[in-house]
Symmetry: C2
Subunit: 463 residues, 2 copies
């Protein structure tokens, strides 16, 4: 039955390409800027439009108001208890489009040029999210059913911190119990190389303030007789790494899950041009932990970075003061098995141990999340790989991502599931920048891959 | 003759105390805020009032317009070529009085409470500057002449950088040739201990920027693969000092004029409470170069301080970026014989040598001035000491000042003279703060000391 069913889905998708593109344009026209309260009506309008698409696909829908922007859900459970249940996550909110004058065509007037659709949210995440809704609709409209059960959770606060998502999912812990989560909010490895992201780094975030005199002091009258907080902080931060880029916090590497020989070989096989990377960033040389490649450093090694540093006078020209205090914002990217809480404590202890006399130190923990790496040999990763190979004509590579996607940790914690991170976008799609776009071919490819994924999931042995 | 002459000056000063206080009040009522263009008419009015006081004393006066605020001069050369010529410097402009709500009585309504006159500029510098005008007037109105020649140079831009003073003095290099300069814009050592400042530190000022990627980078996507400019800068700054507070720039101490045994003994004899100093600043401990006392560190040892530090995100909460660049503003206080230009170069070389790979460094030199220390055993310092002992009933102590007073360097450079820094104010007079005040007794003491100084100068052997 499935072969016959899927061929009708395929035929439908081919016929509906124009309609699907029109639907995407319609979605992109609504300026759903979650960060800007002037767009509150647009947020509601977008939520309602997404709900209508889910309803049109034959799902049972709901708009859940939150203290922030609404969460849209759509469910269909007709595949029965034996079939897997898939939670599809996406977001309908977008980044602010500023600076507007750098857009070739207005950000909320979707325009196609050179096979790409230009608009804010084209890739991130309206376009990618929509592929799954349209794939489900294709199944429902042709076959009349899906091979597996589905719960869509589409939020409107991803670009502003997803502040109400976790509480919502925790409330729905039993109702939304599922076997796997699917998210399309990442990228292909390159234009001709589809990818599945199977590993993410975790993060810890904190802030350290060194407090000296209770007021800025005249550097002539007092300079030399008191510890300078900016210099004290510099001494502390300057000892965080050795000359070879290794973090000096005791125990920092103790729990690190090292890359396997196979993974290092896989990374090395990926096309990557270190010189082009260096040039694009405008640095005289790349730099990082000795003994690792650039991709390994970005995807699978922990880091300790200062994200912001300030103390004293920051205006124009000189000012002769000994600053009262100095502050550094620090984040560490973590790899699997490293514990954020334990390392935050180790970092605090290291900084305290290196805090020189004459000043005091305050430490603020902003909390973080653990790293995740999934076993790509499992059945869901296999299904996704086959679906992508079918839709894009090429086996996807399994890659990691240096950033942290907190929702993956949330799904793991609340539902105990793996997340399939299936990216149809490209890193060069100008996410969060002017002239954001999405390759139309990748939009249709994503819909086809998603449709095929349902078939693969339906062919799985009963849960 | 001098004894008889000076006794008439003394009598006159005693009789004129009320009038002198009224003159001070009148001067303090004009809001001569040089930083605020709304007070331009008040600046002209103050300049004119100062000129009228100099003219009333019998001097030949002039108001010199500049691209900024005017400079007022007054000359009298009746003492002849054999007598010394004294250049008296002061300033009629004041700091802005904000925050206004912290003043007990309005800043430009001079009010006497507890033997102090409260007003913006009371000490800094209208009150102190006026003592010299009134002392000269006393001589002229009683004896009809001064024992030495005088040139008053009273500027209106001291609080905004004295931008037009040096050019003006350079033009007048020959016309205003003099034997010594007198400035009352410093402080007594304490309420019952008058002082002459015989040493000032110099300064060098610069800015160092560490440039990494040409844009802020996502710390997840890129962190670990590029040098972080804030961490690079911290490493560089963290090596500027050793654990014992000694500056590590090669050659930094090579030319330092060490304190003499006698000076260290003099400093040690001054009443100074390290614990009170520490408490006032709110630091857990004082800190500085090992082997030196707090006063020695402040007055006679060079420093290297960061005055401001910034890079990356400085707003609230965390932000996950690798900053594009980081900047530190640095000033070094210099002591006699250290050369600002040479040490600026040494500092730049040190920072370049410690700049890690993967970033570039830019260095900006803001220029500075040399330190000055005068021989207190010379005739002018002896004269000033005797005049102060007469007026305040106590021998002054010779102290140094950790700050830099650029006008002292200017007088040394243009006229080749020493400057007598005779402070009638107190460090506790709230200079640059709300409720600035001047002890009325010190105002009258300053006038008496200035009057006596003229007698001492007149008794000097012919130049």
């Amino acid at each position: 039955m499935n072969q016959v069913s899927f061929s009708s889905v395929e035929t439908y998708l081919n016929l509906q390409q124009e309609t699907h593109l029109e639907t995407l344009k319609q979605l992109l026209r609504i300026p759903s800027i979650s960060a800007d309260s002037r767009y509150l009506p647009a947020m509601q309008e977008t939520a309602e439009y997404v709900r209508s698409l889910l309803a049109d696909a034959g799902l049972q829908t709901e708009i859940h108001q939150t203290p922030g922007h609404p969460i849209v859900t759509g469910e269909w459970r007709g595949a029965g208890d034996g079939a897997p249940t898939v939670l599809v996550y996406g977001h309908y909110d977008v980044q602010p489009p500023d600076p507007l004058d750098l857009w070739t065509t207005p950000p909320f007037e979707p325009t196609i040029r050179d096979g790409k659709i230009f608009a804010r949210g084209a890739t991130d995440d309206k376009g990618q999210m929509l592929t799954h809704i349209l794939a489900v609709a294709a199944w429902m409209k042709t076959v009349g059913r899906l091979p597996a059960n589905v719960v869509f959770v589409i939020e409107g606060e991803e670009e502003v911190g997803s502040n109400h998502l976790t509480d919502f999912l925790r409330e729905k812990q039993h109702e939304y119990a599922c076997n796997v989560a699917v998210v399309s909010d990442t990228s292909m490895y390159s234009a001709d190389l589809p990818a599945i992201t199977y590993g993410l780094r975790g993060i810890l975030a904190c802030e350290v303030t060194v407090q000296g005199p209770h007021r800025d002091l005249h550097s002539g009258v007092f300079g030399g007789a008191v510890q300078n907080p900016t210099l004290a902080l510099a001494r502390m931060l300057g000892q965080l790494h050795d000359d070879q880029g290794r973090i000096q916090v005791p125990g920092f590497y103790d729990d690190v899950l090292e890359l396997s020989v196979e993974e290092r070989q896989e990374f090395a096989r990926l096309p990557f041009d270190d010189e082009a990377f260096r040039k694009d960033l405008g640095v005289p040389a790349t730099f990082g932990e000795v003994g690792y490649s650039t991709l390994e450093r970005r995807w699978a090694r922990p880091t300790c970075d200062v994200n912001g540093l300030y103390g004293g006078y920051t205006g124009e020209g000189p000012k002769t003061i000994v600053p009262s205090s100095a502050t550094a914002k620090i984040t560490c990217r973590l790899v699997p098995r490293q514990n954020a809480e334990k390392l935050t404590q180790a970092l605090e202890e290291f900084l305290r141990a290196h805090c020189p006399p004459g000043v005091t130190m305050q430490f603020r923990n902003y909390h973080g999340c653990e790293a995740h790496v999934f076993d790509t040999s499992g059945p869901y990763f296999r299904s996704a790989s086959q679906a992508i190979a079918y839709a894009f004509g090429k086996e996807p590579v399994f890659i990691r991502e240096g950033g942290s996607i907190p929702v993956v940790a949330t799904f793991a914690e609340i539902f105990g599931v793996e997340t399939l991170l299936l990216g149809w976008g490209l890193n060069s799609d100008n996410l969060h920048s002017p002239n954001e776009h999405f390759h139309v071919a990748n939009f249709h490819g994503g819909i086809r891959a998603s449709a095929k994924l349902w078939e693969e999931l339906g062919a799985m042995p009963p849960q």
